[in-house]
C-alpha cells in the first residue's frame, strides 16, 4: 500500500508526526542543511541531497554521555546515562545513509551490544527518501544501492509536487497509520507515476560520471599486498589530516571516550574520533602510526579491505560522495580506488 500527500501539506504532516513522537529531519540553519529535531519554526529541507553530516548522528550522536561518577567525599559512585526510551522518527534519509545504518549495525549490534546505539535503533522509525536528482559526486550504485528504492521502515519518493510514502515494515505501517487522516491512498495512475520517477532516477544514476567505478580489485583478499603498496605515499601527500572526511562519513564509527570534570563529579562521554588524527593511537610509549601515510592508509584499508574481510565482502563505504566535496585538498576514496585500479591493469 502506498500513500500520497501534496508537498505543500508536508508542514502539517510533520506537525502531526511530531505531536506524537520526536521527529528528526533535514533542516536548514545558516544556509547549511543537517538533520535536526523538528520544531514548528523549522526550515525543513527535503531538496538538499547531502546533509553536511550524515543521518548517522541520529543513532550515533557526535557526542553523548555514557556514565557519570560522583567523587565527592572520597567516595566513588557510578551512574549510567539513560538510554533512549521514547519512539522517534527520522525522516528523509537518503539511500546511501540508510545503507550505512546496516554497516553501523554490524559494528554496534554485534556482541557485546552497544546498548546506547541499540536503544535508539529500537525506538527509531526510518523514513528514507529517494534521490530525485542524484549528483555528480554520487556513486552509491557502485555498492549496489538503488537511489530509487532505498531501504527503510517507510520509503518516500517525490514526483513533482507529490510525496509518495510506502511503508515496508511494521514500524513503518504504524507511522503511516498514525497520520492516515492526512494521507491519500495512491491510485493505479499514481503507481505508474512512481514507477516512471524511479526509472528517471535510475536513468540519471546511470549517467553519472562515477557510474563505472570499479571495485573489483578491492575486498578481503590481498590485504598485505594492498597494505604494502608504494601507491600510498603519493596518495597521502595532499592529506592534511583534518578529519573532514571522517566526520562527514556515514559509515565512520571510530570514537573516543573522555572524562569531563564537572567540579562535583566526572562526566564520561563518548564522541566521534578519527583514525586520521595523530593522537588516535598514541600511547605513553609512542604510536604505531607516527606517519601521515600510515593514518591515511588505515582509513581506506579499513573501508575497502579490513571491513569487507570481517563482513562477507561488504564494503565500508556507501558512495554518498560527501568526502569528495569536503576534502580541502581534493583527495578521496574514489581517487584511492582508481589509483589501485589503474596500477593493476
Amino acid at each position: 500500500m502506498t500513500y500520497k500527500i501534496q508537498k505543500n501539506q508536508l508542514g502539517g504532516l510533520f506537525s502531526a508526526i511530531a505531536a506524537k513522537q520526536k521527529l528528526y529531519l533535514p533542516c536548514t540553519f545558516s544556509g547549511k542543511t543537517d538533520f535536526a529535531l523538528w520544531g514548528e519554526d523549522a526550515a525543513f529541507d527535503l531538496d538538499t541531497l547531502k546533509t553536511v553530516k550524515s543521518a548517522k548522528e541520529v543513532f550515533f550522536p557526535q557526542c553523548e554521555d555514557i556514565v557519570s561518577f560522583d567523587t565527592r567525599g572520597g567516595n566513588l559512585t557510578v551512574t549510567e546515562a539513560e538510554r533512549e526510551t521514547d519512539d522517534f522518527v527520522v525522516f528523509g534519509v537518503r539511500g546511501c545513509d540508510a545503507a550505512a545504518f546496516s554497516i553501523l549495525d554490524s559494528v554496534f549490534l554485534s556482541e557485546p551490544v552497544d546498548t546506547f546505539y541499540k536503544s535508539r535503533r529500537d525506538h527509531g522509525t526510518v523514513v528514507t527518501l529517494c534521490c530525485s536528482r542524484p549528483e555528480e559526486t554520487c556513486f552509491c550504485s557502485a555498492f549496489g544501492i538503488d537511489a530509487a528504492a532505498p531501504s527503510g521502515d517507510v520509503t518516500a519518493m517525490f514526483s513533482g509536487d507529490v510525496l509518495y510514502l510506502t511503508p515496508n515494515t511494521e514500524k513503518g505501517l504504524n507511522l503511516t497509520k498514525s497520520v492516515q487522516n492526512l494521507l491519500v491512498p495512491a491510485t493505479q495512475t499514481d503507481e505508474k507515476e512512481r514507477a516512471a520517477e524511479a526509472e528517471n532516477i535510475r536513468r540519471i544514476t546511470a549517467s553519472l560520471p562515477l557510474k563505472n567505478l570499479d571495485l573489483s580489485g578491492w575486498g578481503k583478499d590481498e590485504l598485505l599486498e594492498k597494505f604494502n603498496s608504494p601507491l600510498w605515499k603519493d596518495l597521502s601527500l595532499p592529506c592534511i589530516g583534518c578529519g573532514a572526511c571522517t566526520f562527514s562519513c556515514p559509515t565512520c564509527q571510530c570514537y573516543d571516550i573522555r572524562d569531563f570534570d564537572k567540579g562535583n563529579g566526572v562526566q564520561r562521554y563518548r564522541c566521534w574520533d578519527s583514525c586520521m588524527y595523530s593522537d588516535f593511537t598514541m600511547m605513553a610509549h609512542g604510536t604505531p602510526r607516527p606517519e601521515k601515510l600510515q593514518r591515511f592508509r588505515q582509513r581506506f584499508m579499513h573501508k575497502l579491505v579490513y571491513y569487507p574481510a570481517n563482513n562477507g565482502g561488504t564494503f565500508g563505504c556507501v558512495g554518498c560522495g560527501r568526502c569528495l566535496e569536503r576534502c580541502p585538498s581534493g583527495i578521496n576514496i574514489v581517487k584511492v580506488i582508481k589509483a589501485f585500479g589503474d596500477n593493476d591493469r
Binding site: V78, K118, Y255, I257, T281, A309
Partner: protein, 274 residues
C-alpha cells in the same frame, strides 16, 4: 541491559612495590570478591574518573578466588596517578576483555616455555600461576625472564620462593648489565634463550617490549621453533575494549577483541603496524 562500557567500582586493597617503577595493585569489588572472572591473558580497563582509563593485563591467576592483581609500570598520566594512591583508594574496573591464552585448549598437556622481558611478565604470570594451580594438566615448565637490573624483576619474591621450588619448573633469570649483588646471568633475553637450551617442540609464550619480542622470535626460529608454537600478547591504544572504537584495529583484527593473544604465524598475516 548491561553495557561493557559501564564500569564498576574496585577497591585497591594492597599495593606492592615490585621495582622502582612497577607496583602491583590488588583489587576487589565493592562488597568483596573479584570484579569478574577471567582467563589468563585477558585484560581489564582500569580508570580513575577524571584522570583516564586504560587497558591492563590481569596478572593474577583466575584460580586466585579472592582478588585480581595488576602489575603496572609508571609511564603515563593514569599510571602516575595510580602509583601515587594509597591502599583503600577507589578506582573503576570493567572487563574482562580479549581472548586470553588457550590454557584449556592448545596449551593443555604441553611443555611450556615462558619468555618475558621486564613488565612483559605481567600477563604471563597469570598463566604461570594457573599452570601451577593445575600442575598435572601441563608438562615441564621453563621460565626465561630478563630485566634491566636485579631491581627490575617484577614478582621477584614469588619467583624465588615459589616458582623455583615448583615441581618440574626451571627458572632462568638474566639482567641487561652486571651489577653488584647480582650473581646470576647477565645478557639480553634473545641471546640467553639460546644458552638456556630449549626444546623446539615445546610451546612458547612470549611477552616483552616489541624489540625484545622481535629478536627473541628470530632466535627461536633459528633454534628450530615453529611460529605456530609461539604465542605472544600485544598492546595498543584502546578505548572501548570491545572492537568498536577502532583504535586497536590492525588489518582485519581488533587487538582488544580478537587478541591480545596471537600466535606468531597469525601475526605474520597482519600488517606490521604494532
Amino acid at each position: 541491559m548491561k553495557d561493557m562500557l559501564i564500569p564498576s567500582v574496585g577497591i585497591i586493597t594492597d599495593i606492592r612495590k615490585d621495582t622502582p617503577d612497577v607496583k602491583t595493585f590488588r583489587v576487589v569489588a565493592e562488597g568483596g570478591g573479584k570484579c569478574f572472572e577471567h582467563i589468563p591473558g585477558q585484560c581489564a580497563m582500569l580508570s580513575v574518573p577524571g584522570v583516564g582509563e586504560a587497558m591492563f593485563s590481569i596478572t593474577s591467576s583466575p584460580t586466585q578466588r579472592d582478588y585480581m592483581e595488576f602489575s603496572i609500570k609508571k609511564c603515563g598520566c593514569l599510571t602516575e596517578w595510580l602509583h601515587s594512591v594509597e591502599k583503600d583508594a577507589k578506582i573503576t574496573v570493567r572487563g574482562p576483555f580479549g581472548n586470553g591464552f588457550p590454557v584449556d585448549g592448545e596449551l593443555k598437556g604441553k611443555n611450556l616455555v615462558f619468555i618475558a622481558g621486564g613488565i612483559g611478565l605481567a600477563p604471563l604470570r597469570s598463566v604461570i600461576n594457573y599452570v601451577r594451580a593445575k600442575r598435572s594438566d601441563y608438562g615441564r615448565v621453563t621460565v626465561v625472564y630478563g630485566a634491566r637490573s636485579k631491581d627490575d624483576f617484577v614478582d621477584f619474591e614469588e619467583i624465588e620462593n615459589e616458582w623455583k621450588n615448583e615441581r618440574d619448573f626451571s627458572v632462568h633469570l638474566t639482567t641487561d648489565r652486571p651489577q653488584e649483588g647480582w650473581n646470576g646471568h647477565v645478557g639480553f633475553v634473545p641471546a640467553f634463550v639460546k644458552e638456556v637450551g630449549l626444546d623446539p617442540h615445546d610451546t612458547v609464550l612470549l611477552c616483552g617490549p616489541p624489540i625484545m619480542i622481535k629478536f627473541t622470535l628470530s632466535a627461536l626460529v633459528e633454534m628450530g621453533f615453529e611460529r605456530t608454537g609461539v604465542y605472544t600478547t600485544m598492546e595498543l591504544r584502546m578505548k572501548c575494549g570491545i572492537g568498536k572504537c577502532g583504535r586497536c584495529n590492525i588489518g582485519d583484527k581488533y587487538v582488544c577483541k580478537d587478541g591480545p593473544v596471537f600466535r606468531c604465524d597469525q601475526l605474520d598475516e597482519l600488517p606490521a603496524e604494532y
